[in-house]
């Protein structure tokens, strides 16, 4: 995927808008996992904007983020870094080929015999 598309994809999945960031750093001031993360919440926002998604994808940060939403709650600009970190995490897991399904693909593979649990569980593999 091209960098621009990647930025769009991350933004779309996150449901947030990194461009709103005013670089105040409150997210990283609020983060309880700051010291364990190699890239910190404010960096995620900035690096996604810069297209440095590869680096983020390979970082410890996507695992060590506790998804506690402190950054999301306290963000004055509604950037909500937790959503962006999650989006990077999700895209990474999907890109690495750990699953072959995308929700948009569901209707295509629907047939009468396939039990819905199969789909649910298959889809869930990449989530967590």
């Amino acid at each position: 995927m091209k960098t621009e598309d990647m930025i769009k994809e991350i933004t779309r999945i996150s449901g947030g808008n990194p461009a709103k960031c005013m670089k105040c750093g409150k997210c990283s001031g609020a983060c309880p996992a700051y010291d364990e993360m190699d890239y910190h919440p404010h960096q995620f926002v900035n690096m996604v904007l810069d297209g440095r998604i590869e680096e983020l994808a390979n970082s410890k940060g996507i695992i060590n983020c506790l998804s506690c939403f402190a950054c999301l709650e306290r963000c004055p600009r509604s950037v909500e870094p937790a959503r962006i970190i999650e989006a990077v995490r999700v895209v990474t897991l999907r890109e690495q080929g750990k699953n072959h399904l995308k929700p948009d693909g569901i209707p295509a593979i629907l047939d009468d015999d396939l039990p819905q649990q199969a789909i649910t569980s298959a889809l869930r593999k990449y989530a967590k």
């Binding site: 709103k20 005013m22 670089k23 105040c24 750093g25 409150k26 997210c27 990283s28 001031g29 609020a30 983060c31 700051y34 010291d35 910190h40 404010h42 960096q43 402190a70 950054c71 709650e73 306290r74 963000c75 004055p76 600009r77 509604s78 950037v79």
Partner: protein, 664 residues
């Protein structure tokens, strides 16, 4: 039928190059009502104007059409020309054949044809023009200033100096406003009280100024030059004219546990009180929410001790009505409530304070007598963390805080940090900032002094959490330049809370029919060119009610507002724009549709007698437009179902005639 003269301008070659001006004049000469048509090189030149005047007189023209540049350019010029020749200036119409024809069309035939059509439309309109005479209204030579902070005081002083009487309406028991609560002022660090209180005294003693403290604007009627305002004088239970301000009552008052708003609730006052020593008027006020006498009729100590006999427990709110020519809004600001920012533990720890509270803690007249002490245990703080932009610059969808920059926080935080370091060199001071914004004369130098001379630690980053523990405030924050999270055990945290317009501003705006933005700041008539006037004629803006401002800017705007007011009050009468709405009373239903869409409150209703059938008299409710208030937008004309409301100068028939001329 009018006798119309048509004057086609060449504008040098600007028009003549792409429009056959002779052909235009010839074609328009054949239009009904046209008795004369000509063309000339420069109609706006003296010779051109002389020609128009000559022809008006010579041919007895009743209407003039000028085919030239945009009316935005020379309409006023040509109206004056015609007026001098004895023609009503509103009998002139301009066909814009430069901006709309010669400059945008290259083909001469096409341009000429269009110029003729535009000329016809103008002729069709002039056929229906009627002479309009601008209305006049008298001016009441008295001004009202709403709000008695530095903005209101300065405006009142300037107006009074010009010789006009001014009333200041202030909702608190004293004038002075926020500035009276400040300690020092940036960037010169002179003491706020030292520069403000002389002005308060001036205002109190000026013969032209009447201070109506502890009062509110109840109702506003009328229009520019002729406002009628009803003012509520809240019962203070003390006769203002008798009270000497000796303060004995305060000593005797047994109810001593009232949170002192002047000190931001950091200490207590008595139920009968004078807010601070330099109050103007220096008159006591009884706080009815706390007074034992007023609450359960048992006490009366103040009354017994008052040698002037000023106490009156039976006092009621009074109303006064006064006429004004101009109104100045100076309702000021407040820091926002910090309820939604409890990650800083503001509501949990008394040692987390707002900047205005810190201001009081530093002030010699404050609750600690000017010694900086922690509110919790009255000990000297050794580490202080300042947090900037609390509630400023927030995204709207965050649903807390304000979208705008509050403008003054960077400077007062630098001041606080500097003063702290100066008075208490053993105190470490950290300032967390997003950006340090210091545009202004000597402002950045001031901030740099805090950093370079006073060694204040400025950290680019933001505090994310404050946890009170063991008498300390554990501050967790980011240091973005160092790319690390830092933890500081602070003794005090000071929050630079965003500022917002005073809550009284919104209802006041409704009473004044003055407009506001989404943040409840008053809108100016033009953001650049008319910054101290509200779009509502006769209403002016002073200070932070219009937007965040520091003291010098506020004073400058106060002076500007005053000069606008003086400019209005020196006039003996106001001449209006005659192109205003006019109802045909015979057709008016009195249905209030027009009133609902009028942005100026220019429409009122009257019950008027009309002749009915069989010599009866019928009383009907009909609309009346105040021509001094109406600005001529025309919203009402479309809202009116019967077409009873029309707009002079742009009447239904005139516009229809233009449509017909163009579509023919």
């Amino acid at each position: 039928m009018q006798r119309i003269g048509v004057f086609v301008c060449w504008c040098g070659s600007n028009i003549a190059a792409t429009v056959d001006v002779q052909a235009v004049a010839d074609a328009l000469a054949k239009e009904p009502g046209v008795v004369f048509a000509t063309n000339y090189q420069y109609m706006c030149s003296q010779t051109g104007q002389d020609m128009i005047q000559e022809k008006i007189k010579e041919l007895g023209l009743t209407g003039v059409v000028i085919c030239s540049c945009s009316p935005r350019m020379h309409e006023a010029t040509f109206r004056r020309t015609c007026e001098k020749a004895g023609l009503n200036p509103y009998m002139v119409e301009i066909a814009n054949i430069r901006e709309q024809v010669s400059w945008v069309h290259k083909d001469k035939a096409v341009g000429t044809e269009k110029a003729i059509i535009l000329g016809r439309a103008a002729i069709a309109k002039v056929q229906l023009n009627t002479p309009l005479i601008a209305g006049e209204s008298p001016v009441t030579k008295r001004a009202l200033v709403i709000g008695g902070g530095i903005a209101g005081i300065q405006t009142a002083l300037d107006i009074a100096d010009a010789g006009f009487p001014v009333d200041i309406v202030e909702t608190k028991p004293t004038i002075g406003g926020k500035m009276a609560q400040l300690d020092k002022t940036f960037p010169t660090l002179d003491c706020a009280a030292c520069i403000l209180t002389p002005k308060m005294v001036d205002a109190g003693q000026n013969d032209n100024i009447r201070i109506l403290s502890y009062s509110e604007v109840e109702e506003v009627k009328g229009f520019v030059g002729n406002f009628e305002v009803k003012i509520r004088r809240k019962a203070r239970y003390v006769k203002e004219d008798l009270c000497t301000g000796c303060g004995l009552c305060m000593e005797k008052c047994p109810q001593k546990k009232v949170p002192n708003e002047f000190n931001m609730g950091l200490d207590n006052r008595t139920a009968i009180y004078i807010p601070f020593a330099q109050a103007v008027p220096k008159v006591a006020t009884i706080d009815a929410n706390y007074c034992l006498m007023l609450k359960n009729g048992k006490c009366g100590l103040c009354s017994r001790n008052c040698t002037a006999g000023a106490i009156d427990y039976k006092q009621q709110d009074e109303f006064i009505e006064e006429k004004y020519g101009a109104i100045v809004v100076a309702t000021g600001f407040n820091p926002i409530s910090l309820d939604k920012f409890d990650e800083f533990a503001y509501s949990k720890s008394p040692d987390v304070v707002s900047s205005l509270e810190f201001e009081r803690l530093m002030n010699a007249a404050g609750p600690t007598g000017g010694t900086l002490l922690r509110p919790s245990d009255r000990t000297h703080p050794h580490t202080i963390v300042f947090v900037q932009c609390v509630g400023s610059r927030c995204d709207a969808s965050a649903e807390k805080g304000k979208e705008y920059c509050s403008k003054i926080c960077c400077m007062y935080t630098a001041k606080h940090a500097m003063l702290t370091r100066e008075k208490y060199p053993d105190t470490e001071v950290y300032v967390f900032y997003i950006d340090v914004r210091t545009p202004g004369k000597s402002f950045d130098e001031f901030y740099r002094r805090a950093v370079e001379q006073y060694n204040v630690h400025y950290i680019k980053g933001m505090v994310g959490k404050v946890v009170p523990e063991g008498g300390k405030l554990k501050v967790q924050a980011s240091d973005l330049l160092d790319n690390r999270q830092i933890h500081i055990d602070a003794d005090m945290v000071v929050l630079a809370a965003a500022i917002e317009p005073d809550k009284s501003a919104r209802p006041l705006a409704t009473k004044l029919t003055a407009s506001m933005d989404t943040n409840d700041f008053f809108t100016e008539a033009h953001p650049k060119l008319r910054p101290v006037e509200s779009p509502t004629a006769g209403v002016f803006l002073s200070g932070t009610c219009q937007g965040p401002k520091d003291i010098p800017e506020t004073v400058a705007q106060a002076g500007a507002a005053a000069s606008k007011v003086i400019g209005l009050l020196v006039k003996d009468k106001l001449i209006g724009n005659p192109c205003v709405a006019k109802p045909n009373e015979l057709m008016c239903n009195g249905c209030s549709s027009c009133e609902k869409v009028c942005p100026y409150g220019a429409i009122t209703y009257e019950d008027k007698p009309f002749r009915g059938p069989n010599r009866t008299t019928l009383i009907r409710r009909v609309a009346c437009v105040n021509p001094a208030v109406c600005q001529g937008c025309g919203a009402c004309t479309v809202a009116c179902p019967s077409g009873a409301m029309d707009l002079q100068g742009f009447s239904n028939r005139q516009i229809m005639a233009e449509v017909d001329a163009i579509c023919k």
